[in-house]
């Protein structure tokens, strides 16, 4: 007899972070009968249980919460709504027919939902992917791994630390490490500006007098067993080393905070088309991917600044998945959305159905002052500043779209601020 168990459900959600929980709650509210959420970790919440700082929930719950508190509140809502959870269960295969193979301590499962929402989040760019010259001794971690070590495992990654990249997690960890008695020798950023939010730059770096080196990168890591030295150099506009500008740090630890990469190995298995810039699936305004019955939300689509937005976008995916499960597959539009001048990417990539509003999420390529974002020639919005680190969101009433045909180009004009 086969030991593989088959499990049927209306909606499967892969990933139980803020996106997956947001999707599950909204799916129930939209009337989906059976909602199964699969999470590979022992706890729900995605990366939030290790984010013990506050600032979560300002949009979603209208109050400032820590990561664990935000998770707890969502979890209560999801439990009350009657979501089925399967934790310590990892989806290892998905096919285009909506069959999910998942694995846990009890069994190997084949899950057969009518629709699936992908909420797998993202992972951090690794040291290896940055191709930094030098040796590869112990003491190299991503900032998120260091966060887990300190906040969950109660261990320090090391005592004398250089952080490469000024993403939000890196800045938050600079503060956290300092509070725990480590010495943060430098935050090194290759771009001429900080990669994360201004709020974090002020509260995590400046307030703690942590030295920041913009337009710098690491030229060499030294050490055989454990890191012994890190050599930092200034770079020119083309990111080439400037000789003679080297600074040596006697560090024992290197943290990498150089961006997040959406986790889409499963999406690829399902044959879903990907967007080369976001690293996530191509989605329409219903958060529907190119493979029928597959929706996506949260960081798996593109990296959000705030967990709140991940919960929200996945919620929209869930509302549309509910319609899909009910058999409503209607689409009445086919507008392609493309990134134009100064816009790195825009989501959604297509508008396929008129709903009340369409939310556009985008990032600019460079810090711009006195910036104007234009959506085709139907809408424009002015910003004092637009920065790559701050996602721009624009809600467009769909009546504006009624006369658009073919393509809609989103662009931004402004003065380069750096």
């Amino acid at each position: 007899m086969s030991k593989i168990i088959t499990h049927e459900t209306d909606l499967a959600i892969i990933g139980g972070g803020p996106a997956g929980l947001g999707a599950a709650i909204r799916a129930k509210a939209s009337g989906v009968k059976n909602v199964l959420l699969i999470e590979r970790s022992e706890e729900l919440g995605g990366v939030l249980p290790q984010c013990i700082h506050n600032g979560f929930g300002l949009h979603y719950f209208k109050e400032s919460l820590t990561g664990p508190a935000y998770t707890y509140k969502m979890l209560q809502d999801a439990q009350r709504a009657g979501v089925d959870f399967m934790t310590k269960t990892m989806a290892i295969r998905v096919d285009g027919e909506n069959r999910i193979t998942a694995l846990n301590r009890d069994r190997l499962l084949e899950i057969r939902p009518k629709a699936t929402i992908l909420c797998m989040g993202c992972r951090e760019r690794s040291f290896g992917a940055l191709r930094i010259p030098g040796t590869r001794p112990a003491g190299i971690y991503t900032a998120g791994t260091a966060q887990r070590l300190i906040n969950i495992e109660g261990k320090m990654p090391g005592k004398r630390v250089v952080i490469l990249g000024s993403g939000d997690i890196g800045m938050i960890m600079a503060r956290r490490l300092t509070l725990e008695g480590a010495k943060v020798l430098a935050v090194v950023e290759i771009m001429p500006f900080i990669g994360g939010l201004i709020r974090n730059e002020v509260q995590c770096l400046r307030d703690f007098h942590i030295p920041v080196y913009v337009s710098h990168t690491i030229k060499e890591v030294r050490g055989t067993d454990r890191i012994e030295k890190i050599v930092v150099t200034r770079v020119d506009q083309n990111r080439q080393y400037i000789p003679g500008t080297e600074i040596e740090f006697d560090a024992d630890t290197l943290l990498i905070s150089a961006g997040l990469i959406p986790e889409n190995e499963l999406s690829r298995m399902a044959g879903i088309s990907m967007n080369a810039i976001t690293g996530g699936p191509v989605v329409d305004n219903l958060w529907q991917t190119s493979t029928p019955g597959f929706f996506a939300g949260g960081n798996v689509v593109h990296v959000h600044d705030l967990a709140d937005y991940a919960s929200e976008s996945a919620g929209m995916a869930a509302a549309n998945a509910a319609r899909y499960i009910d058999g409503d597959r209607s689409q009445d539009l086919d507008i392609e959305v493309a990134a134009g001048a100064n816009i790195r990417y825009v989501v959604p990539n297509r508008i396929s159905k008129l709903q009340e509003t369409v939310s556009f999420y985008m990032r600019v390529t460079w810090p711009l002052a006195d910036a104007t974002v234009r959506i085709g020639d139907i809408y424009e919005k002015h910003f004092q500043f637009a920065r790559p680190s701050e996602q721009i969101r624009i809600d467009l009433p769909t009546k504006e779209l009624a006369h658009v045909h073919g393509q809609l180009i989103v662009s931004c004009e402004g003065e380069r601020a750096v």
Binding site: S2, K3, I4, R40, E42, K88, M90, I92, T101, L103, N104, R105, D106, R107, L108, R123, E124, S126, F127, G128, A129, R131, P133, G134, T135, R136, P137, A138, Y141, T142, G144, T145, R148, L149, I150, I152, E153, G154, K155, M156, P157, G158, K159, E180, G181, K219, E220, V221, R222, T224, D225, R226, Y241, E265, R268
Partner: protein, 497 residues
């Protein structure tokens, strides 16, 4: 410390030492392997290109190496089948971009045929080349095809050889550097000083790789010197699995095989190689010009469709060769016939098994007591690898989980490695994060241990019953974490992973 005595002591647990140890267990002799590191296979063998060369080595000054390649390639398939080690015979395309190079390929083919490599073909039909290797640079006009070229897991081979040697009675000692050797003429035995006290043996095999000249010098043998080269390479993401089917290699400016790109047995791709002489074995670093201006340019010249952004890891290996021709040194020390050097070099991975048999069947009998040449009747050539969940069929996996639920608990998400596998790897000898990584692949995938790192530390700590602070990346000095300030300490996760 008490003296430990064996008939045969092999110094070094790289692929050379592992292969010899297994061959020697075919005799009715007690065999021990002494390795200085905490993990086996962690020096030269860890950094190899992992290619089983078909036998294009045609230098008349290196007869042993030529023979080792030719025979080694022929024997590797069966060995890996016996030892349950990953190996694929995928063939090599040594490509030419112009007529001069075509002429060089023809010359290579002639010499290789003269030395006995018959399975070799010059392909000048470009459409056929593109059919064989669809992403090949269309500027390639011809290629020398050797179907017998293969790829293998180098550390997998060491684990397989050593575990099989242990099944046949051998002992393996790690963190056991040999620091001095004396020949006791009266007792007719060698006395070895090690980090784990004294050992004695009737026969010693020096398979210390890059340090083999230093080990030989311990008994006064200065007949060979080791020279080292550092070789820089990159690994590409598995998303490009299938984009390269053969070992694809170009000629260097001396008309010999040079830069390459090839699949690994684990489904990712490897490309190299920047070669620089070095005198520091620990110089395992990469450089910006080496990777950016050399390795990535060559790989793009061979297979233009794989972008630099697909690199998940640059790394380097240090190759030892005997200074001069690079010929293998497989012979007794002068005046000490029972001290046998077993020093390989380039193509050492390919040749290790063939050369271990050369040592055990052709050299050893000329120096051993007749009584020591009795073979064991019960030698078991087969060994079973530990389970790898990633490679299992669904039914097999379901079966395994039913037997041991830990095989359902995924720890490394990029390579789908479970707690069951990590525990089994530790049972088979892993003592460090790298030991777990090479045995199971946990941490080798695209996130490079970002997710599984803390969990692997916790499992090592639990299974080895040591605090997390004592867990290392690869042995003493390479600690992974330190303690929180006392007043900040929170409960660790070790108990409930």
């Amino acid at each position: 410390m008490k003296l430990k005595s064996f008939d045969v002591i092999v110094i070094g647990a790289g692929v050379a030492g592992a292969a010899v140890a297994r061959e020697m267990t075919k005799y009715a002799l007690s065999v021990a392997v002494l390795e200085k590191n905490a993990e086996v296979a962690c020096e030269v063998t860890k950094g190899t290109h992992a290619i089983v060369h078909a036998g294009l080595s045609v230098n008349p000054l290196t007869p042993l190496k030529n023979r080792g390649e030719l025979m080694g390639a022929a024997m590797m398939g069966q060995l890996c089948a016996d030892l349950d080690v990953k190996y694929q015979r995928i063939g090599k395309l040594l490509v030419a971009f112009d007529e001069t190079q075509v002429a060089q390929l023809k010359a290579l083919m002639q010499s290789a045929k003269r030395l006995g490599l018959m399975d070799i073909e010059l392909i000048e039909d470009r459409s056929r080349l593109l059919e064989m290797e669809p992403n090949l640079n269309p500027d390639v006009i011809a290629a020398l095809h050797t179907p017998n070229t293969g790829i293998v897991s180098p550390w997998g081979l060491v684990y397989g050889l050593l575990e099989n040697a242990q099944d046949n009675g051998a002992s393996v000692f790690v963190e056991c550097a040999v620091t001095g050797i004396r020949w006791d003429a009266e007792a007719q035995r060698f006395l070895l000083d090690t980090r784990q006290g004294p050992f004695s043996a009737k026969y010693v095999v020096n398979a210390a790789g890059p340090f083999s000249d230093k080990v030989a010098a311990m008994v006064g043998d200065t007949s060979f010197q080791i020279s080292l080269t550092r070789q820089e390479k990159v690994i590409f993401d598995k998303n490009y699995q299938g984009a390269v089917r053969h070992v694809v290699r170009m000629l260097n400016n001396m008309g010999a095989p040079g830069d390459f790109i090839c699949p690994t047995v684990y489904g990712d791709l490897m490309a190299g190689v920047e070669v620089k002489p070095t005198d520091d074995f620990d110089a395992c670093h990469t450089t910006q010009p080496g990777i950016e201006e050399h390795v990535l340019r060559s790989s793009a010249r061979l297979i233009p469709t794989i972008p630099a952004s697909a690199v998940i890891r640059p790394f380097s290996g240090v190759l030892n060769q005997c200074a001069g021709t690079g010929e293998f040194v497989i012979r007794s020390a002068p005046q000490l016939p029972r001290f046998l050097n077993f020093v390989l070099g380039g193509s050492g991975l390919t040749a290790c098994y063939a050369m271990a048999q050369y040592l055990s069947l052709e050299v050893f009998p000329t120096v051993a007591d007749a009584a020591d040449l009795k073979t064991r009747g019960d030698f078991n050539p087969c060994r079973k690898d530990m389970p790898h969940v990633h490679d299992l069929e669904p039914e097999e996996l379901a079966e395994l989980i039913a037997r041991d639920p830990r095989y359902g608990h995924v720890i490394c998400r990029c390579e789908t490695v479970t707690e069951g596998e990590i525990v089994e790897a530790i049972r088979r000898g892993a003592r460090s994060v790298d030991g777990v990584k090479f045995r199971t692949r946990a941490g080798m995938g695209r996130c490079q241990g970002g997710f599984c790192g803390p969990r692997v530390i916790a499992i090592l700590s639990r299974e080895l019953q040591i605090p997390p602070e004592a867990v290392t990346k690869k042995g003493p000095g390479s600690y992974m974490v330190t303690a929180l300030r006392d007043d900040h300490s929170v409960k660790g996760e070790a108990e409930h992973v």
